[in-house]
Symmetry: C2
Amino acid sequence: MTQKRKIKLGFILHGVGRTWDDWRHPERNVRASTNFPLYRKQAQLAEKGKFDFLFVADSLSINEKSSPHYLNRFEPLTVLSALAAVTDHIGLVGTLSVSYTEPFNVARQFASLDHISHGRAGWNVVTSWLSDTAANFGRKEHPAHSERYRIAAEHLETVQGLWDSWEDDALVGDKASGVFVNPEKLHRLDHAGTHFQVRGPLNIDRSPQGQPVIFQAGASETGRDFAARHAEAVFCGPADLEEARLYYADLKSRAHKLGRKDDLPFILPGAAPIVGLTEEDAEARYQELVALTSIDTGLGFLSRSFNDHDFRKYDLDEPFPEVEHIGNESNQSASQRILKRVRKDNLSIRQIALELATPRGDFVGTPTQVADALQNWFESGGSDGFVLFEPLPGQLDLFVQHVVPILQERGLFRQDYEHETFRENLGLSIPVNRYAVGRKQAG
Amino acid sequence: MTQKRKIKLGFILHGVGRTWDDWRHPERNVRASTNFPLYRKQAQLAEKGKFDFLFVADSLSINEKSSPHYLNRFEPLTVLSALAAVTDHIGLVGTLSVSYTEPFNVARQFASLDHISHGRAGWNVVTSWLSDTAANFGRKEHPAHSERYRIAAEHLETVQGLWDSWEDDALVGDKASGVFVNPEKLHRLDHAGTHFQVRGPLNIDRSPQGQPVIFQAGASETGRDFAARHAEAVFCGPADLEEARLYYADLKSRAHKLGRKDDLPFILPGAAPIVGLTEEDAEARYQELVALTSIDTGLGFLSRSFNDHDFRKYDLDEPFPEVEHIGNESNQSASQRILKRVRKDNLSIRQIALELATPRGDFVGTPTQVADALQNWFESGGSDGFVLFEPLPGQLDLFVQHVVPILQERGLFRQDYEHETFRENLGLSIPVNRYAVGRKQAG
């Protein structure tokens, strides 16, 4: 009998908020983004709810126009290491860019986190060749889009190679003979590639997971191929279930064509549930969120999807203007989606702007309604689970208290952690070291 | 009335051991170097002893000949972040090389650690342009010695500049008006130097210390000048009190000539106390350590100080041979010191080899004898404090239980932590942000 497929749940620690104006909520600490006690509290709450993992996003540059949750943030590896010391079971996934880091340093930091946490590290692999970011790293130009992913793939493969430096039994530690390490089981990588040349071995022994779990968030064509080939889980941001299903089917199909037989990667859309004890309570909480949103923020979102078009020149409460011809080329799907939404309910500029800044999504309702919606996405080809945001203070607590037990009753979510490592709790096995594989084949 | 000068105490977390053979002690865990519970236990014990700081050393390459405590180790920033979550007062000093890191990443990780720990971060600035290390970072060559320190200085100054990106009151967080940040108090660094070009601002707000504490370990001429100019504390390894005094006087004089008026940097020699409840007990513990040492390890040390001369061709129990002419040029002081020591007691090759591998130092004895020796170094111009190693399991516990109270009784060491931050506990003030200084002068 095969085990029933379970929903994977992650929680994203985002400090002051998920959107531009969340920080204005009366109960938000405006310094939340660098407040470790708050991070610890949320992490322990998510662990109480048996979540699979915590997720820390990242970015590498700011300017005057940056959103509050971008302006000020913990560096992911440091805060995840600190959280490792105050949690026991939950996975710890951090974003780290391949663009301005050395594979040797990246491999070490994640291997170290994996040791500290007894096997709970995950790496969300991103590239970050934006011109603003380049200026923080002494670069004036950045490589072409397709080239970026070739660099990313080589960086990742180098890191994964370094993680195999030590075979499981390389550290002998025989006090009588004085043999500390078996040199035959300690391997140089000798990677000599196009973008990286790294000798190895890594100066930290094999970590409990062997290979920390690989996350990715591919959206473009090359990004999707990268995710399909390399990721074990993908964090994505579909606007609705229809878009989620298309993305899900596309990514699984790409992975299958690339020869993956494990039905990976897991597809995990972001979700921002607003749980109320009644429908009215939930709606009131959502409206509380909407009320925080300034029209400036909304117009900013709108404008970015229409090639920076200035919508202030219209009466904001009149019907939406004819702007089909100014859709942003690099963001065509966003402008199309907005126009479709506007036409459906004949929205004004103000209405669509505020809605964009405060997306409602499918997950506003009573605990049962939220559980139903999550189950629907999960069972109808929309997702393998979710990465949850906390759109309002207190929502994680409500979710853990009221939604998790429903999912558990339905057999859709774990009753407790069943394994030691993040990888095993996800249902993945610990990979055999590449050099041990070679030895087994030769033997 | 000025406060009495106090001894500064650090504890170095070194996993399996301080020397090549310590790991063979029956009570050592051979996996100590990646055992977080052990690190936590030592950290909490040092904090119970009111130590100023924990210290984590580092290196960036290994080979078959590397010592066990080099082969396998935590990455410093990750393990210090984890320790930040399970301690409350003790400083957290980590080694990080400027050679293969980006100033923006380094500034972020230490600022993040400083936030997580509520003001307890310290950076031990090192350069690491060894050819073995270069091979792990895609470099075939490394810059000339003097050039390395110019790069190090520019890297450090860039990091320190980024730490001032946010003035103390840049994060406004006014919920009513919707103003999150005051753009006039958020600064680009716009550093355009010889080796680094970094725009800024840093994407994390000003940390509790403003500027994490800077450590260094300069030994060469250029290294000493770098330490004298930039460091707030220096970790050094003099062989005896005489050498310590010379180093102390030299470094303080260099700092003074460079215009520093604060009597910094603090000079902190390494020390490896072996405390026994009686003299016999202490001696027996030291002999226990000597007994762990293999003659191979000792000959390795000896050979490295004499240009890799092969001492196995002599009878190891005969008097030391005439080898004055083969002193290692890059390590002249070490070979001179060995010859002086050999002549003093007419030692055999075996005797000096084992002694080199297991240096006895001045700190073997009863709690009172060890306290006396520390006080003597501290009061006779040898040091401002010490970085303690734990040469045998259980020694930190003995030191905290028996030596610390004596130092406290004598008024040489704190009774309790008096401030929030590491910097203030060291007796240093929180630096005023460079942009606020400018504003004050203009006002």
